[in-house]
Amino acid sequence: MWLTSKIKQAIYVLTKGTVTLPYPFSPHPAPDTFRGAPHWDHHKCVGCGGCADHCSARCILIRDVCQEVRIMLYEGSRCTYCGRCADVCPEKAITTTTQFELATDSKEDITERLELFMLTCQRCGRCFDMETKNLIDKMELKGFKYDNLEARALIPVITEHFDMKTYQKTESFSRPKKVGE
């Protein structure tokens, strides 16, 4: 009983032969769908912070030095390589590379630092956001345009679909002399 099962095991084992991979001396690459270390492409990145918001290990840190410059630091030591940032990025700036040989002797080696030039408005210098959520832009979409920041007076302006009637109306338009006229 004991001997037969031992022989069976020995045969089963010896037919398998040695299967050790000569790894460090010959590469054993990860499949291309592998979620390795994420890599930022600073040309595409607009600094929206979506990845920082959705990182489950909270290891992407954003800091606005001044109006123009935003610094994004990817702290690789805590990253759990879940590939969430690559899914969430609107500009597809983050790609999860198949890089898995990340052994280092100092933690700073696996970090990525981005310094992004944030577009600012020429006149007021504040960050410009082509989003259409704030009230002024909503008004603009309805066909109004304010001519200067101080007066903030709204004058009706023709919208994309041009029609002559509104064009004549604007010909005779005169600026209100007093506020609230």
């Binding site: 099962s5 089963y12 979620r35 489950s56 909270r58 590939g83 969430r84 999860t96």
Partner: protein, 420 residues
């Protein structure tokens, strides 16, 4: 120490004073026994937990357990810092081996809470991922069991067979173990037909190898000597201690969450639940090998019956209303993992409670250890395939009097039994 971290007003990153000096009071050894500390870094346990075993000569007379060294405050973190979509990725890292079990249980709980119906195809892919995880978890356990009784060849061969499953998962999901496939509302990556037939080929030779390993070890009297009659616990005791998973199925208790409360796509799968009544560790070995073969059958059925259309991920459009309750149970390779969730405001759950399969099984360990040899301790503890990183202790705090009462194991059982 008077700090109740799960309360709302306690910040999540508060660092309580170091408790080096507060030694945990283990109950003292019965007379005539020496206490052997099976310490936190024991090679058999792979995980930090402290068993103080009372040994009289070679036979074990009693054992007390101080665990929960891997408690990482995940529930507090997920209630304060992280929003709904990140939690499946943290839930996966609760336990290294049964990762997608926790992710599925969590996602199902949230979907139940908000009444989201995910597509049939996503449910099938979830079933396949769970069964792949069961295949490689059982292969892992057979190897570790071999290692614990000193039979390293079984360890090496079982893990050699398991390696192909890991490579396939790496190709399919991008990571060997934490798949990251299962999120709220469905699945992140699709199983293309090329993946499907690669999986079928893989399953054929894994099944062939498992049969060979099974034939080799089932007749081996040397293994029988080490596992038969070891860690025996009767069927009534199993029910009283409410053990779950293969440990209970090896003692004749016929429970299986996949069949009792079907979830994902298990209602359309026919599979038989292996139940053995040999009451000892050898039964657990048999149940796990048979379950492994069952899992392979399930994956084949799922691959054939999978609908080809249907979105992978259904979006959740309106914001999640707070104060929705939901509970979901998933059959992990070790037992039954139950997740309970209360949805909260600003896109974060109010309360998320995880009860992992190892928690009830661990209550049964002192019973199993009684008057066995000390040399059998690793295989008995190994037979429940402990995953301490999942377990969490239940501490009841009544806020008015501020008095803290730690639920003893018995009371815990009464409450859960009353509800059954």
């Amino acid at each position: 120490a008077g700090i109740y971290p799960l309360r709302k007003e306690v910040p999540w990153n508060l660092m309580p004073p170091a408790a080096e000096d507060v030694a945990y009071q283990l109950d003292e050894a019965p007379e005539g026994c020496t206490t052997i500390p099976v310490g936190p870094f024991h090679p058999t346990l792979h995980e930090p937990c402290h068993f103080a075993v009372y040994v009289d000569g070679e036979t074990i007379k009693g054992c007390d357990y101080r665990g929960f060294m891997t408690h990482r405050g995940i529930e507090k973190l997920c209630q304060t810092q992280v929003s709904y979509n990140e939690i499946p990725f943290i839930a996966e890292r609760i336990c290294g081996i049964c990762g997608s079990v926790h992710a599925t249980a969590y996602s199902q709980a949230v979907e139940l809470a908000i009444g989201l119906k995910i597509s049939r195809r996503a449910e099938y892919i979830r079933t396949i991922m769970l069964e792949i995880e069961r295949v490689h978890s059982h292969l892992l356990w057979i190897g570790v069991a071999g290692h614990l009784i000193g039979f390293d060849t079984l360890f090496m061969q079982a893990w050699r067979v398991r390696e192909q499953v890991m490579w396939f998962c790496e190709k399919l999901t991008g990571n060997r173990k934490t798949y990251g496939m299962i999120v709220i509302g469905g699945v992140r990556r699709d199983i293309t037909p090329s993946h499907a037939d690669e999986l079928r080929g893989l399953l054929n030779n894994v099944e062939k190898e498992t049969h060979q390993v099974y034939k080799a070890i089932v007749g081996d009297t040397a293994i029988h000597k080490r596992t038969k009659g070891v860690g025996t616990i009767t069927k009534e005791e199993t029910i009283k201690w409410s053990l779950v998973g293969p440990v209970a199925r090896a003692r004749g208790v016929n429970i299986d969450t996949r069949r009792d409360h079907p979830y994902a796509a298990y209602d359309e799968m026919e599979f038989s639940v292996p139940v053995v009544d040999t009451m000892d560790v050898w039964g657990t070995v048999l149940v796990r090998v048979l379950e492994l073969l069952e899992a392979i059958k399930i994956i084949r059925q799922a691959l054939d019956k999978m609908p080809t259309d249907g979105p992978l991920l259904t979006e959740v459009l309106e914001p999640i209303k707070p104060m929705q309750h939901a509970i979901s149970a998933v059959e992990a390779p070790r037992g039954e993992a139950v997740h309970y969730i209360i949805t909260g405001e600003e896109n974060r759950p109010e309360r998320w409670r995880v009860r992992a399969p190892t928690y009830p099984n661990l209550q049964g360990v002192p019973m199993m250890l009684l008057n066995n040899e000390f040399a059998d301790l690793p295989i008995i503890i190994g037979s429940i395939d402990p995953c301490f990183s999942c377990t969490d202790r239940m501490t009841i705090v009544n806020v008015r009097s501020g008095e803290k009462k730690v639920m003893t194991k018995m009371q815990l059982e009464e409450i859960s039994r009353k509800s059954r």
